[in-house]
């Protein structure tokens, strides 16, 4: 049934529909209402779960780790500084191979203090061994969160579902909410193979001496790479059942495109509008949206953008001292691959700054110029930067 939901409501509803047994979360803007909705569900008796109140996000993730170790379906949600405070425990969750699902309402990082949206927070923990799926709209938040449980439990990997703060978290859209019976069929109860159980004691989190640590890291890496197949498989199953669903990347008029915009998150919707306008004029501009950032879908990406002359990677994050996170991985995908498209990186929309159609057009124009001349003038460019303020005015 269609309901008018903001992104946080969609995330909370997905956790409820997944019949999570333990939720431990700490409120932080802009994720707060996810926690509020879930607390309501538990208090009203709509959801049979333990809601563990904690004093910080570090404790929230620690509690989720303990709960997941007993073999129950576990959920949490956070944003920005909360994710940073959690980061130590993120590595523990993945190292222990616990299938925790977390939604992250993307928000920029202090300092300067900002509560607005960009993707610097989740990009900063991209190496933590968590699967990272990025959503474009509220429907996808609901669908992806449900799929996340299945992927997590099959692969024994934690999954982070990322969606843009405010732009999605606080904006209402019509969302088709699945019936409980439909979700129960798609997502049956799961059995963790080595739960904490006094009858069958196990050791969890032992010391990884040099003779063993590398092998465990290799196993984790292998599972992360293999989860690509699972993401595709679960996406297909979801699509078959409910008519919606994407895999690792989404292709939008990209197959015959000479210039491709490579995007992630809600920015993709705005960029698709621009693509439509170019297409109306008969210009072969396309878009590819990365849905799975971890694991990074190297093969699929080469297939999706490899034929383009130039690719403009437009993103709301920056790896300080380097370039945008999506750009770095996309560019690295083409190492040892020929021919490779020219790649340009556009950093924009940090801390909620509006990404205007003009900015996206500028990215397309720059990419077209590069395609024509065969040369890239500036590999990394900041769009919409107020140059006068930082003393860059000519």
């Amino acid at each position: 049934m269609k309901q008018l939901l903001d992104g946080n409501e969609a995330a909370a509803l997905a956790a409820k529909l997944a019949r999570v047994k333990v939720i431990s979360a700490y409120p932080i803007t802009p994720q707060t209402t996810v926690v509020e909705h879930l607390a309501d569900f538990v208090a009203n008796g709509e959801l049979d779960a333990e809601f563990m109140k904690v004093e910080s996000e570090h404790s929230a993730m620690s509690a989720c780790i303990g709960a997941a170790a007993t073999g129950v379906r576990t959920f949490t949600a956070t944003s920005s500084q909360g994710l940073m405070l959690m980061s130590e425990m993120l590595f523990v969750a993945s190292g222990l191979r616990l299938p925790i699902v977390m939604t992250n309402a993307n928000r920029s990082l202090s300092a300067p203090l900002s509560i607005w949206c960009d993707q610097q927070d989740s990009m900063a923990v991209r190496d933590s061994g968590w699967v990272q799926l990025y959503c474009e709209n509220n429907q996808e938040i609901l669908d992806t969160t449900l799929q996340a449980f299945k992927i997590a439990e099959e692969m024994l990997l934690p999954v982070m579902v990322c969606y843009d703060g405010y732009i999605l978290s606080h904006t209402a859209e019509p969302v088709d909410v699945l019936e409980q019976a439909e979700v129960d069929e798609f997502l049956p109860p799961y059995k963790y193979p080595y739960p904490l159980d006094p009858e069958n004691p196990v050791t969890m989190g032992p010391v990884g001496v040099p003779e063993y640590y590398m092998e465990f890291r290799y196993m984790l890496q292998k599972a992360m790479r293999a989860s690509q197949k699972e993401i595709v498989k679960v996406g297909k199953e979801f699509k078959k059942k409910f008519g919606r669903g994407d895999g690792l990347v989404e292709r939008y008029h990209s197959d015959d495109a000479k210039i491709i915009l490579l995007t992630i998150g809600s920015l993709s919707s705005s960029a698709k509008d621009i693509v439509d306008r170019y297409r109306k004029r008969g210009e072969k501009i396309g878009l590819v949206r990365v849905r799975s950032f971890r694991p990074f879908p190297v093969g699929e990406l080469i297939d999706a953008i490899g034929h383009a002359k130039a690719v403009a990677v437009v993103e709301k994050d920056v790896s300080l001292g380097s370039a945008g996170g999506l750009f770095l991985d996309a560019a690295a995908s083409f190492i040892n691959v020929e021919p490779a498209p020219l790649m340009l990186n556009f950093i924009c929309g940090l801390a909620g700054r509006d990404v205007s159609p003009l900015q996206i057009r500028e990215a397309v124009r720059e990419a077209a110029k590069a395609a024509e001349s065969g040369k890239v003038k500036h590999a990394v460019k900041w769009l919409g930067l107020r140059e006068k303020l930082v003393g860059l005015e000519k």
């Binding site: 190292g95 222990l96 080595y194 969890m204």
Partner: protein, 88 residues
């Protein structure tokens, strides 16, 4: 090896010899040891071998010195590795 380094069989610590971590080596004076077993009780590893007198299993002893601290008759001395003639 199980995912997440979970160990499902008990007794894995026996397989891992931790003696190489040791900086100080406990040496039991057989003339002073009364075989009271307090050192055996306090030792965090299975590194004290009960007997008359007790002895040390240097494959596991990490050299923490708790045995020397607890010994009521001061029969155990901690000696820096490499500075003593006695070989374990």
């Amino acid at each position: 090896m199980k995912a997440g380094a979970v160990i499902t069989e008990p007794g894995s610590t026996e397989k891992k010899h931790t003696g190489s971590w040791r900086t100080f080596r406990p040496i039991i004076d057989p003339n002073k040891c009364t075989a009271c077993t307090l050192c055996w009780l306090y030792c965090p590893e299975p590194a004290i071998i009960k007997g008359k007198p007790h002895s040390v299993d240097y494959r596991y002893c990490k050299g923490c010195g708790i045995c020397a601290h607890e010994c009521p008759v001061k029969a155990i001395t901690m000696v820096r590795e490499g500075s003593c003639e006695t070989t374990p």
